[in-house]
Amino acid sequence: MTDRDVLPFPAPDQDDADIAARIAALYERTPATEARQADRCARAVLAQSMHQSSRSALGVSRTRWWWGAAAAAVLITATTRPWRGVVSTQEADSAVGRAIAAATLSGTVTPSDSAVRFDLTLPTSASAVAIVGDFNGWDQNATPMASRDGTWSANIPLTPGRHVYAFVVDGKRWIVDPLAPQVPDDGYGPANAVVIDGGPQ
């Protein structure tokens, strides 16, 4: 098999063939490169490239590796935004505040000489609200609350001391005043507690 058979392009004419043959002959007469010399050349080129001083072209210095590192750091910082955690916390707090404001579930307990007034404002409409507690045997039918201007109220004469109570909306949903003192969920669900003054301190 000759080179002529494996060339993928059309066969050159005779002159080109002569030239190619002479080049091949010259190449064959060229002495082989010594390994040590080739190694020395490679080391020299590498050393020169590593210790090459900064060059400038058109007044702009050639970029060096620390320039790339700085650019990468800026890019990573701008992308990940480490201060994002603070912003997220603020957003979460604001979200909680908005949710609480939107819920508008609030209750007040106003003791007086003859009774204790319980007021409850619900965020949604309800057909019936009752207050249950240890003062009425936790009976949903014992103390219904009256609605007026969106606020459910009940006046209950309570003896001095601590009372645990909760609200029942529409006979099914038990809710508590989120800001009133609460007793732990002991397996049933949360409940509120109130202490009526009268005992010695």
């Binding site: 912003v87 916390t89 603020q90 957003e91 979460a92 707090d93 604001s94 909680v96 505040g97 609480i100 207050i131 249950v132 240890d134 003062f135 009425n136 045997g137 936790w138 009976d139 949903q140 039918n141 014992a142 103390t143 009940a154 209950i156 004469p157 309570l158 003896t159 001095p160 001391g161 601590r162 009372h163 645990v164 038990w174 989120p178 800001l179 009133a180 003192p181 609460q182 007793v183 732990p184 002991d186 397996g187 049933y188 669900g189 409940a191 507690a193 202490v195 003054d197 009268g198 005992g199 010695p200 301190q201």
Partner: protein, 244 residues
């Protein structure tokens, strides 16, 4: 199975035979029938409203179990009023009889522990509040500190406030120190209620805000800089939402 049925029938018959009136005065929201024997309320303790055990509020097996347990609690000298209230609350919330028994037993054990800590002559209301605090995670040392802060008076309000602020995320040690510090002050119930209100209002605004509110309120109250009715946290600016 037959014995269980017979026990249930016996419980129903026993419940029907004993005149345990359970009617409540709807107008006044107060139990209309009282029985010191059934409720176990101590004479002279007006802080705890009398309460009666109504077996018709429970299924027959639960009523029988409750009656047996209340008898054993009475033999141990435990007040029955708080236990009956826990049972009635469970019946009103329509939880299972097993859960009711579990809660009543746990509360009785907590009351026995509280009585051992606070003393055998502790009023029922104090025992109930202390048992609730123990079940909320308050430790024995905190209860003793509260008792020491008020050696003679009622500790219901300090215990209620302590239980509430611990539930809202304040560490027990910080809560105990704050409550005992305020409780030592004369006529400090209003200050304790103000502490609860400040912590409750701020605890919904994010983690750590409850402790922050407690510290600010304590500084303002103990140093006399701010009156207890004006919690120090009210001057805190609301957090501005980030611009979109």
């Amino acid at each position: 199975m037959l014995s269980v049925t017979m026990l249930a029938l016996a419980g129903q018959l026993l419940g029907a035979a004993m005149p345990l009136a359970s009617g409540t005065d709807v107008e006044h929201g107060r139990p209309s029938a009282t029985s010191a024997e059934q409720s176990g309320d101590q004479s002279g303790d007006q802080a705890q409203p009398p309460v009666t055990f109504d077996p018709t509020r429970f299924d027959s097996l639960t009523a029988l179990s409750l009656r047996s347990f209340l008898d054993s609690a009475a033999e141990q000298g435990l007040p029955l009023g708080p236990l009956i209230n826990r049972a009635l609350e469970g019946a009103a919330r329509r939880v299972s009889g097993a859960r009711i028994m579990q809660v009543v037993r746990a509360h009785a054990a907590a009351m026995a522990e509280a009585r051992a800590i606070l003393g055998p002559t502790t009023p029922v209301a104090d025992l109930d509040a202390a048992a609730t605090a123990l079940r909320a995670g308050v430790d024995e040392k905190a209860l003793s500190a509260i008792r020491t802060s008020r050696p003679a008076g009622s500790v219901v309000i300090p215990l209620m406030v302590l239980t509430d602020i611990v539930q809202r995320g304040v560490p027990i040690i910080a809560a105990r120190d704050a409550v005992t510090t305020i409780a030592r002050m004369p006529s400090s119930d209003d200050a304790l209620k103000g502490l609860q209100a400040a912590v409750a209002k701020n605890s919904v605004r994010g983690p750590g805000m409850a402790v922050d509110a407690l510290n600010r309120y304590l500084r303002g109250t103990v140093s006399g800089g701010n009156p207890p009715s004006a919690p120090a946290t009210t001057d805190r600016k609301p957090i501005r939402p980030p611009s979109p």
